[in-house]
């Protein structure tokens, strides 16, 4: 009877030891020590841009540019034709950067607007991920409890083999420790609101997948250059042609308000846009590292399942020690 009870107790400690070591080793298996800090870097880099104010501002800028491009077609090109005898073919050959923007704008606007919509939709998800504990600490949330579980389990295992003292009493302490520790591990995701935040993180990671590729980032770099070159051509070359042919700057400002606003706002738009493209470009590798980690929605369960196992081992070991008659 005594042998069976102490044997069962030993097994529970062995199971807890394996769970503890597994928990401690998980970050190494998932390369969390390198990947998680990259996730933190990415969150830091995107924080300035993942705000409602910033994204609605970009969306407004896109709408303004769209209005300017429509106005250019509807007002500026006819004016160039009337006043400077520049037909569409002449415009395309003399103002190649404008022609490139005009040709590509529809696609640029659609792609950029789609990206901004995605970012806007993910604001809540980003905030939830940002509210999680710092990414660089993630591996330690596995390692520390894992080692503690392994330590208590090892302690219980050693004690259960002692012959000089009643095994039941000597394993009670490690068993209770395992129960408390197991419950703490189960409680951790609840405390960190992981059950709500982690799936949001997973959703954001999925949404960002098409955006965070080298190809996509290079395409957006290209959009920036096309828009900037087009704006500069309108401001420095095309509008001066109209001035040279009788228009006044004040008259043009009144006649072409959307184009005037485009040129007025562009440096400021560029101030905002360039660093965001930089952040995207600099974080493609960081995104890939995060994307390579286990799916975010699973993270709470990486605590709950081992925690319950550890607590169950503790309970079984504790029961065994209570059931076993104490030898005097």
């Amino acid at each position: 009877m005594e042998n069976r009870a102490s044997g069962a107790r030993r097994w529970t400690f062995v199971v807890a030891l394996i769970v503890g070591l597994g928990l401690a080793a998980a970050p190494v298996a998932f390369q969390m020590f390198t990947r998680a800090p990259k996730g933190g870097d990415m969150i830091d880099a995107f924080r300035p841009y993942m705000t409602n104010a910033k994204i609605t501002r970009f969306q407004r800028d896109m709408r303004n540019i769209d209005a300017a491009m429509r106005e250019a077609r509807a007002q500026m090109l006819p004016a160039l034709s009337d006043k400077a005898q520049l037909d569409r073919a002449a415009v395309d050959s003399q103002f190649a950067s404008y022609a490139a923007l005009d040709k590509q704008w529809k696609a640029i606007n659609a792609d950029m607007s789609d990206m901004l919509r995605t970012m806007h939709r993910d604001l809540g998800d980003f905030a939830a991920v940002d509210a999680l504990p710092p990414f660089k600490l993630f591996p330690w949330f596995f390692v520390l409890p894992g080692l503690m579980v392994a330590g208590f389990a090892g302690w219980g295992l050693v004690r259960s083999r002692r012959r000089d003292a009643p095994a039941a009493r000597s394993t009670r302490a490690p068993a209770v420790a395992l129960i408390v520790l197991g419950l703490a591990i189960v409680a951790a995701p609840v405390m960190f609101q992981m059950f709500t935040r982690a799936p949001k993180g997973g959703h954001m990671i999925n949404d960002f997948r098409p955006l965070m590729t080298t190809t996509k980032v290079q395409r957006i770099q290209g959009y920036f250059l096309v828009i900037g070159a087009g704006e500069g051509t309108i401001r420095n070359q095309m509008l001066p042609v109209l001035v040279k042919n009788g228009s006044t700057p004040a008259g043009l400002a009144a006649q072409l308000p959307a184009l005037t606003r485009f040129s007025h706002d562009w440096p400021s738009t560029s101030n905002q846009m360039a660093p965001m493209i930089g952040a995207m470009s600099d974080n493609v590798d960081n995104y890939l590292a995060v994307d390579a980690m286990p799916p975010f929605p699973l993270f709470p369960w990486f605590f709950v399942v081992p925690g319950l196992l550890v607590a169950a081992c503790g309970v079984i070991a504790r029961r065994g020690s209570r059931a076993e008659p104490v030898q005097v």
């Binding site: 070159a229 040129s263 560029s270």
Partner: protein, 252 residues
């Protein structure tokens, strides 16, 4: 015996509770996420250079002349698009360039008259005006690039990486061939910093980066030099700046 067991139990429970509390403490989430970048290893500084073929002084910059479209004489800047080459381009078209060929941005001398070797020509603090134009103007005057001014400087700590870098050095051999190290060259544009040195601050020459080379006539002091520097990181990651300076050297 019983007392010992109880103590052990209390100790174990205390340890488990301590872990729980420490996990909870780590969970106070939202604040503390500064993205401070660490500085990397400091390069050795070579502040003065007078011996041998080292040319220590001012490389006075002659303004770029692009009356014919492209810059045909004098100093200029061009930027090669990502994936392109210095020889074949494609080059970015800067609609704010004063040249007919918008892929050239002519450079004009700054308040110091040009590039100084053996000494830094640092950017001011802050390096930008309210609209994020770079305002350093010692080497060359800021140049409008996509509606925003870019400004060149040389700094003891590279503003992009935080790495300590030596002062620019340029040497001429007996045949007048120039070589040099301008890893301290940096450009401020649009609220961002771009290292535009060759080699890069860590001594590497990634992608289209090519160290300084050129010619020097010891009799007249006339020089022509060029280096290229690939941008690493940021909005123009993979793009390469081409720096072509011409003028006369004035020994300090």
């Amino acid at each position: 015996m019983k007392i010992r067991t109880r103590r052990s139990q209390y100790a174990a429970v205390f340890a488990a509770l301590a872990l729980t509390l420490s996990l909870a403490a780590c969970g106070s989430s939202s604040s503390k996420k500064s993205s401070s970048k660490t500085t990397t290893t400091a390069a050795s500084k070579t502040d003065t250079a007078t011996a041998g073929g080292k040319l220590v002084g001012l490389f006075k910059v002659t303004a770029g002349d692009c009356a014919g479209g492209a810059v045909t004489a004098g100093s200029y800047f061009r930027m090669v698009q990502s994936g392109g080459t210095v020889e074949a381009g494609p080059f970015i078209s800067n609609a704010d360039s004063t040249c007919g060929d918008k892929t050239y941005s002519a450079l004009t001398p700054g308040t110091d008259g040009g590039l100084t070797t053996g000494k830094y020509q640092p950017q001011p603090d802050p390096p930008f005006d309210a609209t994020k134009n770079g305002i350093a103007d010692k080497i060359v005057q800021p140049v409008k690039f996509f509606a925003v001014g870019f400004a060149m400087s040389t700094n003891d700590k590279d503003p992009t990486s935080g790495t300590s870098v030596p002062t620019p050095t340029i040497s001429a051999d007996s045949s007048g061939k120039l070589t040099g190290d301008v890893r301290a060259a940096s450009v401020a544009w649009n609220g961002q910093q771009f290292n535009q040195g060759a080699p890069k601050p860590d001594g590497s020459t990634p992608g289209g980066t090519k160290v300084l080379e050129g010619t020097y006539d010891a009799k007249t002091g006339a020089y022509k030099l060029q280096w290229t520097s690939q941008i690493v990181g940021g909005p123009f990651n993979g793009f390469t700046g081409v720096w072509h300076l011409e003028g006369t050297f004035q020994k300090s």
